[in-house]
Amino acid sequence: MRAGPPESGSGPRTGSTRALLLQALVALALAALAYAAFANASEKLARQGITAGFGFLSRAAGFDISQRLIPYAAATSTYLDAFCVGLLNTLLVSGLAIGLATLIGFAVGIARLSPNWLARTLAATYVETLRNLPLLLQLLVWYVAVRVALPEAQHPAAWGGAYLSQRGLFLPRPDFFGVAWLVPLAFAAGIIAALARARRAARHVETGAETGPVAWPALAWVLGPPALAWIGLALAGHPVGIAWPSPGPYGPEGGLGVLPEFAALLLGLSTYTAAFIAEIVRAGLASVARGQGEAAAALGLGRAKALRLVTIPQAMRVIVPPLTSQYLNITKNSSLAVLIGYPDLVHVFMGTVLNQTNQAVEVVAITMAVYLTLSLGLAAMMNAYNRRAAPVSR
């Protein structure tokens, strides 16, 4: 028998039929394997007295979690609540780390191409050091450093109602109860207005229409409405309450607490990933034809303006695809939180909940589904952005 063009006459010997047959066999074997694994697992679970299914999610959790973005209490909350707490903690640290890593990464990447020798060398040192040390090691160093560098809990550093100690940073937290929710609402409205203005300004640039300054009015739009709402409420006799932290018998408590585990994870993730982003940015900038920068200079644009208006926009289409995978890395690497005690999804759900319920199959499946959804969603957003940023061929 030889492979190649189908022989005369149809039947199982023709190439396409044989391929189909093979594919069917492989699919069948995979299905049989999956079924065997499933049957095996359910039999073993039944023998251990573990009921399969997701009913356990509504059972009382019974354990406490150090950082909660939503109301959560050991006695009344369920495993589903614990899952939500963990998920939100993952989203919080990943989201902030993505923002911070992008800022640092762009700054360092641009600095690497700077004509200034010191900036260039410092940026290169940053990239080569952080990129070449394991993230795990860096997280542990950050966590130890955060704890060692901060004052003891009983003797916190205090400024204007905020306390800093080994227990973390405790800030005054505004309480938006009663009519005071108008303040965050005004804040959101301000941001939307500022974004709308920025879009209009961008259109004006394209059409060549006259635009005023963009940055300062935007700041006024973002901060103005909430400040006005705040003052207005205070004058109307409904002052916004502020939850002040207090020194406490065992160290600062109350207010808005930023835990050392969170700070260490955020700093570790951002600075590490920023080193990779810096290289991506450098490559992106280098990919823009030299003439573009020279042309910008010839038009009288300064270096900063030339970068912002000419080079970076063209570099973005090279930068965005690899940047996406760095963002995905941050989201996935945030699960290293387990090692420094930050209660992210893996720590809370795959750690404590799995141990207490023994629902290994369900817990692992849910966790995998969450990371898959996060990663695919993030990638879809970045791809959409990339399509918009891609050059329009004329």
Binding site: G49, G62, F63, D64, I65, S66, A74, A75, V144, R147, V148, E152, A153, Q166, R167, G248, P249, Y250, G251, E253, L259, P260, E261, V338, L339, I340, G341, P343, H347, G351, T352, L354, N355, Q356
Partner: protein
């Protein structure tokens, strides 16, 4: 018609029963005797309970329990093989017959007892305790209201702590870590005011800190953690032997029989209690499938419970664990041996 159809069914049933693995095989004791040594599952890393030293020799309360068992059976405490077990694999190892007895600071709970094993006797009464800095000058757990507590996650410790503080209307802040090294590290660096786990482990953890004398373990315990050796279900003779090995050490201590005086006492004692324990009077060893001097062998080779405790955990050791609940009942503790008679 009916009879005709039942007969082949009965035959089939009989065949099936015959084909199933022989249920009436020799008991564990007979297997151990035939093998010539005992196989004992231990933890392999808990100071004072089971840990090998630099020469590879095992030490600890659980280790000595297995040695006592071997001494009772073989008159030779060295005829034991110790196999370290992870906490995940320990129950399977016992059920599969890889080990004869599991002496691995395992807490006796109802679910474990009914799942597939028996706990003949409690060898050590433990409970969840708190390690705090001496400089805090606190003596009760209640004083930890509003404190930050470091815990190892995935253990009952998390649940016990939450329940205990909540039911008393107290609050605390928790920080949990995946393993004990991280938990201790966080506590020691000042991240937490207290580190909570089983009291028996806390004594060992305290030794790992840079300045053990700066930390104290609160006397109070907030949970019950009775450590018991585990045996397979369905072997009552072996279960009896494991239970009475511990009771012999308790009864010996209560009767004033120690490793130091046991040989002399056996020669010249007048006490009927001591005579019965040491096998001078009565024939109590036979019921266990042993010789009548079984308890004498245990005390001579390994010692009474007090000897074993002092050697592995007591004030003379670095751990310095007080007897507490593990004192004899005559001294206000919970260790109580049924009479040997």
């Amino acid at each position: 018609m009916r009879l005709v159809s039942v007969t082949p069914l009965a035959t089939l049933l009989g065949a099936l029963l015959a084909a199933s693995p022989a249920p009436a095989q020799d008991g564990t004791l007979a297997q151990v005797k035939a093998r010539g040594h005992l196989v004992c599952g231990v933890s392999g890393g808990v100071a004072g309970f089971s840990m090998p030293d630099g020469q590879g020799r095992w030490h600890g309360l659980d280790v000595d329990f297995c040695r006592a068992l071997a001494a009772a059976i073989f008159d030779d405490p060295e005829r034991v093989r110790f196999i370290p077990q992870s906490s995940a694999a320990r129950f399977t190892a016992l059920q599969s017959g890889e080990i004869d007895v599991l002496a691995r600071n395992t807490t006796w709970t109802l679910s474990r007892d009914t799942a597939a094993m028996n706990f003949p006797v409690i060898t050590f009464f433990d409970g969840q305790g708190f390690l705090v800095r001496k400089s805090l000058t606190i003596t009760t757990v209640k004083q930890l209201d509003r404190a930050t507590i470091c815990l190892q996650q995935g253990t009952t410790t998390e649940l016990n702590t939450a329940d205990w503080f909540r039911t008393r209307g107290l609050s605390y802040q928790v920080v949990t870590f995946a393993n004990s090294e991280q938990t201790l590290g966080a506590y020691e660096s000042g991240r937490c005011d207290a580190y909570s786990t089983d009291k028996s482990s806390l004594y060992g953890e305290r030794l790992k800190t840079a300045h053990p004398e700066e930390h104290v373990i609160l006397e109070e315990a907030i949970s019950k953690e009775p450590f018991a050796p585990g045996v397979r279900q369905g072997d009552d003779a072996w279960r009896d032997l494991v239970a009475w090995t511990h009771y012999a050490m308790i009864d010996a201590e209560e009767a004033g029989i120690s490793q130091a005086n046991v040989a002399a006492l056996r020669e010249k004692t007048l006490s009927p209690d001591v005579k019965r324990i040491l096998g001078v009077e009565g024939r109590y060893g036979r019921g266990l499938g042993l010789t009548d001097d079984w308890a004498y062998r245990i005390v001579r080779h390994v010692g009474n419970y007090g000897d074993v405790f002092a050697r592995n955990l007591g004030e003379a050791t670095p751990l310095k664990i007080p007897r507490g609940l593990n004192a004899l009942w005559t001294n206000g503790g919970l260790q109580y041996g049924p009479p040997i008679r």
